[in-house]
Subunit: 305 residues, 2 copies
């Protein structure tokens, strides 16, 4: 499996919308697309809704609450080869109490979606969730208002605010396969079920490259120094807005010093162990991460290379 | 030149501090390190100060304004092989009017710093600047307070706020060499001097992988479709807090449709053109990006591979 071929299987990638960034800043063009043809993604809080065919359900802009902030997601593909329809999602009302984090019901819904629909949902979810959590200006505390079709929020200078623009947030996270002598380091997070292991991961911090983030995170969590960090693949992870950056690195030693504030266990697994876990073998020594997780993809890559 | 060797030349990487994340959340340990041995990075607004040896200048915590918020950067290396000293930086006072963006004076100061000092300054700058721009909670508008040694801010629930934590922001940006028939696509931004060209770049958006971000950005800015995106290298860019992700891609065509709201020019350059620009040849057809920029490194990589 080449990296290119493998990429096709990465969850939350492959959205077919044309993001049409030129429309975002063009108030007149954007307004012109907010017409009867436009589609509104049906969301229950942050949960997707499915139509009878198991696809993402859509309504029209008339379905949005009158004062809802609408995010322009892009254009779908015109069914007759013509211009696609403008697609929007509504920001939840302030104080909406519905669940935002991933939960079993959401995982079931997501498993039913096509890859393209899952990617569309993930991107829309990250964006409306960002709006819902950024109604105020972090610089001055004043109210903010949606701008540029939802790809910006503006602090209201005409209401006495500082006027600073805010932009949607994407948080880079490194997630890494660490290899020593043909074995792979995997960890079990605090509170995870017994037997569930995945790749170590952590946010890239200010002042770090991807490679430095990988090395720091592995050293912090396992006490192991790594070298020769290489990039494998990336995918968005909309809980709420991570960019997962999958890497591989070689360890200088297999002696572990576990950070027990982060991890319950860290262990080294052989190629046979990993293959058994990916194959859901009954005697597999651990449970592999689910296919939606980039860690699953990284393990596939390691076995196939 | 291998990618590994080339990485050593990437600006803003190679900080020697031990970030000691275990100390951040341990209020007692952190307090214990805020003693007479601790060092305070000397900053004039966001500008670095240099000592007589041309290194970053440091004072003690006594040099900080009494009510200053202090960010724990990590430990330096003990000169006698013992424990290093705790290093801090102070968040500028609210309303500090001094310049924050990169300017010629800053570039001169940065050019004088060692790679390790430049990396330390860049990371510290990103972090204190984030604090200065996040004194309020974006979710409820209430005041926030520094937490976990400056790696978090907390909305003050005891003052009626929502209590949401905020984390330092790192914005992933793709920057890419696009190749067609042995030539490279480079662009000149609006307002750039005549003759200055660099790699196209843009923020990764919610719902995108790195590879999808590269393809979208190139299509938006140049009208060209790309394939076979590969990762080359990354570096932090502290103006204010980007993670630059350098990539290479092959174009399907060299026919350009330039986005004139973003770019003044886009042109294709030969290997000889790029080599001449990197060598500052008097007859070079364009001016290369400065060595601090990852684009310079990417061009070096392209010539050397």
């Amino acid at each position: 499996m080449t990296v290119q071929a493998a990429k096709k299987t990465l969850a939350f990638t492959g959205c077919l919308l044309d993001r049409a960034d030129n429309v975002r800043a063009d108030r007149e063009a954007l307004g012109g697309h907010m017409n009867w043809r436009a589609r509104l993604l049906t969301l229950d809080g942050m949960m997707p809704a499915l139509d009878d065919a198991g696809r993402l359900a859509w309504g029209t802009l008339a379905d949005a609450p009158e004062d809802a902030e609408l995010v322009f997601l892009g254009f779908d593909r015109g069914e007759d080869g013509g211009t696609g329809r403008a697609c929007f999602a509504a920001v939840p009302a302030q104080g909406d109490p519905r669940p935002r984090m991933a939960n079993p019901q959401l995982w079931n819904l997501m498993a039913a979606l096509s890859p393209e629909d899952l990617a569309l949902y993930g991107g829309a979810r990250s964006l409306v969730d960002w709006h819902a959590r950024h109604r105020f200006c972090p610089a001055c505390g004043g109210p903010t208002r949606i701008a540029k079709g939802g790809w910006q929020r503006d602090c209201l200078a005409d209401s006495g605010g500082c006027g600073a623009p805010q932009f949607p947030r994407t948080d880079p996270v490194t997630i890494m396969l660490v290899e020593y002598d043909g074995r792979l380091m995997l960890g079990r997070g605090l509170g995870w079920p017994e037997g569930r292991f995945s790749a170590l991961a952590g946010f890239v911090e200010p002042g770090e490259s991807i490679e430095e983030g990988v090395a720091r995170e592995v050293l912090e969590e396992s006490g192991v120094r790594v070298r020769d960090v290489t990039y494998i693949a990336s995918q968005p992870w909309p809980f709420p807005s991570q960019l997962m950056i999958g890497c591989h690195a070689y360890a200088d030693s297999d002696a572990l010093t576990i950070d027990e504030t982060e991890l319950a266990e860290v262990r080294w697994f052989t190629r046979d162990d990993v293959a058994a876990a990916l194959g859901d073998a009954p005697d597999a020594p651990f449970t592999a991460p689910p296919p939606h997780a980039i860690a699953h993809h990284l393990l596939d890559w390691w076995i196939a290379r």
